[in-house]
Amino acid sequence: MVAQPKPTLEAVEEQLLPGAGFLLHEAASKEIFTAERFSDEHKAFYKTAVDFVEKQVVPRHKDIEHKVDGVMPDLLRKAGELGFHMVDIPEAFGGLGLDKTTTCLVSEALARQGSFSVAIGAHNGIGMLPLVFFGSDELKKEWLPKFADASVIGAYALTEPGSGSDALAAKTTAVLSEDGKHWVLNGSKMWITNGHIADVFTVFAKIDGKKFSAFLVPAKTPGLSIGREEPKMGIRGSSTTALSFDNVKVPKENLLGEEGKGHKIAFNILNMGRLRLGVAVMGGCKMILSVATKYAKERKQFGQSLSEFRIIQQKLADMAVATYCGESTSYRTTGSVDAATAKAKDSPNLAQKLVDAIEEYNIEASIMKVSGSEALDYIADEAVQIHGGYGYSEEYAVECAYRDSRINRIFEGTNEINRMLIPGTILKRAMKGQLDIMPVTQEIQESLHRAASPVPQQGTGPLAEEQQLAELVRKATVYTLGTAAMKLMTELEKEQEQLTMLADMIIDAYTIDTVVRRAMQAQNETNEKAAALHRLFAKVAAVEIYDRAMARARRIVVELFPDADQYTRFMELKRLHLDVTAPVVVLKRQIAEAVIEADGYPLSYV
């Protein structure tokens, strides 16, 4: 049994698992951070962001989408007045130095307008964080106050025409000028968000064609030209352009971090970007669910509201469950990063500690990025479906949401790349002795070799069965991951199909662990109505995840062992089999009822 939860970050700190640690311990057994534990300030920040986006951004939707001159910079400056860009700036440089939960809560709220969300993320996220984490004190003093009020707008220029996923293959070069005072940049960049409105770019280039490094480059520097606006499928209000560098001279001091350490900057900024994107897409899910629900209530066919048809109810319920999963993994992960850095608040090394913590949880960030962006695509698609023909019309918000959603599977590392990173990073850490997954694999394999029947039910209480399902999913995941690693060894890297399936198992393992644990904690931390909703969400998610995870595990075993060994593996996996008798259709009807009553996602922070 778990001790009575203490709803504070300290409780999480005490039981904090390392990155991917959820695979190593009994499922749903550790304290996690959840939305139920937001502080009053967290809620107040969120409310300000919601008020701002609804009253100042959404009403300018048409102007934003038509890129009316000056609208986006104006909105970024208004966001600056309210302090949104100060969240990640340390206090020592005039910022607020708030935790990552706050960063992500604000991103979640601002996601209600897709183009704005992407533009502000490029400014105070990927555009500004290289400076915050890796810039010299002089550069920070000079630039951060201007980022804070958006008198200067930032952007991040990594991708090139010839190098997207393979970012380190960049061809842009930097050479020290003869007098040793300047870097001279040559090359080109592609798909740069904020291209037309940015005043300063973080540019990645190779010193002497070899040492990958990052530089702060003012937009007005001679030789830097900005390409035409890229006409795009979605997020049309955000500016996206190519850049070309023809002997662009920047002061020597504008190098960020050390020469040749640019990959560290690029990857760490991507880690943070994924965390933030994972939460932002969940904010998008909530917005779209609300639009779809209201429409389903108003539109009548066959003399009934669409929301009275069971299949529409099921869609609304499925959308809400996916949102709950995203919300739960989002704030568990930001809470882990915050708990890992809580003690470093006043440390002179805070920037490094933050980078380390974000790297520690980069597997979780990839999980959120992949599952969140796919949940959003799924929800946007179903929202269009619920709208029927009207969903295909530009007059309805879901049409834009559907187009806007698509980019999230592509940038911040494509979902394919992120999927391969998930098992890849775990195995790398195991190999380096940073993650004890091999002994756990052996333990599980042995127990499956011996056990005659499924693991007996472990816990008691309202979520005992879900906890058991979570534990079975965890074991199946570790089992298949470990078995695949032992069978293929270093060859596994080439087996992208297997890696992708393993990634999906790990995503499911993190999700089921998180939603079950959250629902357990919520039983003592909310009112009965909300607690009942948590139970419903956790139950539906657990059953569905269990079913698909076991099917996937079998498939992986079949693919790995097309030979005699297959039978043994099958028998081992069978011992994780449980006949799940809980029907979910009726539970989904109850969820749908709550969604319809609330005009959208039925849990709220305030």
Partner: protein, 262 residues
């Protein structure tokens, strides 16, 4: 200039309220609460006047212990300190008499209140307070220039203070009226007075450290037995679906024979 502003915690006007089965109260479990929107306008006006004339803005809430959240929000907007009178649901008369005590102690030059609270829409507390204090009052304060005006963009106060007098534009049936009041005075705010600012993130951080004095309602020695009794809550009757008419003749006919209005 010292300004007192009242902020009431009310049920979220964007959510549907539910009536308890006995019809005697509203269901508050799982309900979301927000500051009364008219009071947010009052806070905004006070902050603008403070910017123009200096002084202090003190926020008062009388009600549930959780109303500290609404006070905190006003502090995050920029008010200086809070007073929280912890009490159960009260009627406007009890609220006015409690406020009178606080006014006597704090001695402000101006009290700004929302014209009414969006939960019970009573529209009485401000007038009663003025009556008890014997102070001049200007209810339904508004702005001639309107909310899209340059004056509003420049965050100019709608209430003009000069020479110990407040000039207030107020909304009345069919137009606007200008009143001059001798200070100290009571002003209650209407919707078109200003756009309240958002609480900024630095503002929220600062508000954490601003003082809120908690006072139990009993310590005032004021008789708070309600003079108004809630007899019954009921949902408004559901609106009947409309009908489409083919032409003017049919419309006129229906107005005569069915609606019987002409």
């Amino acid at each position: 200039m010292k300004i007192l502003v009242t902020v009431k915690r009310v049920t979220d006007y964007e959510r549907k309220v539910k009536i308890s089965p006995d019809g005697l109260s509203l269901v508050t479990e799982g309900m979301n609460f927000v500051p009364n929107p008219f009071d947010e306008i009052a806070v905004e006006e006070a902050l603008r006047l403070q910017k123009a004339h200096g002084g202090e803005v003190v926020v008062i809430s009388i009600g549930h212990k959780d109303a500290s959240k609404e006070i905190r929000q006003a502090l995050a907007m920029g008010a200086d300190r809070g007073i929280h009178v912890i009490a159960e649901e009260l009627d406007p008369d009890a609220v006015a008499r409690l406020l009178m005590k606080i006014v006597e102690e704090e001695k402000p030059e101006l009290v700004i209140m929302g014209k009414q609270a969006t939960d019970d829409d009573a529209n009485q507390a401000g007038q009663l307070l003025a009556g008890y204090l014997g102070w001049p009052q200007a209810t339904f304060a508004s702005k001639v220039e309107g909310l899209d005006s340059e004056a509003e963009k420049a965050q100019t106060p709608g209430v003009v203070i000069a020479g110990g007098e407040a000039t207030v534009i107020r909304e009345i049936d069919g137009g606007l009226e200008t009143l001059k009041l001798k200070l100290p005075a009571i002003v209650t705010t209407d919707l078109r007075l200003n756009h309240p600012r958002f609480a900024s993130l630095p503002g929220i951080m600062k508000a954490k450290k601003k003082p809120i004095k908690e006072v139990p309602v009993a310590s005032f020695g004021v008789d708070i037995t309600p003079k108004v009794r809630n007899v019954k809550y009921a949902e408004p009757p559901a609106r009947k679906a409309g009908v489409k008419v083919a032409d003017v003749a049919e419309l006129v006919n229906k107005l005569k024979t069915e609606a019987k209005v002409i």
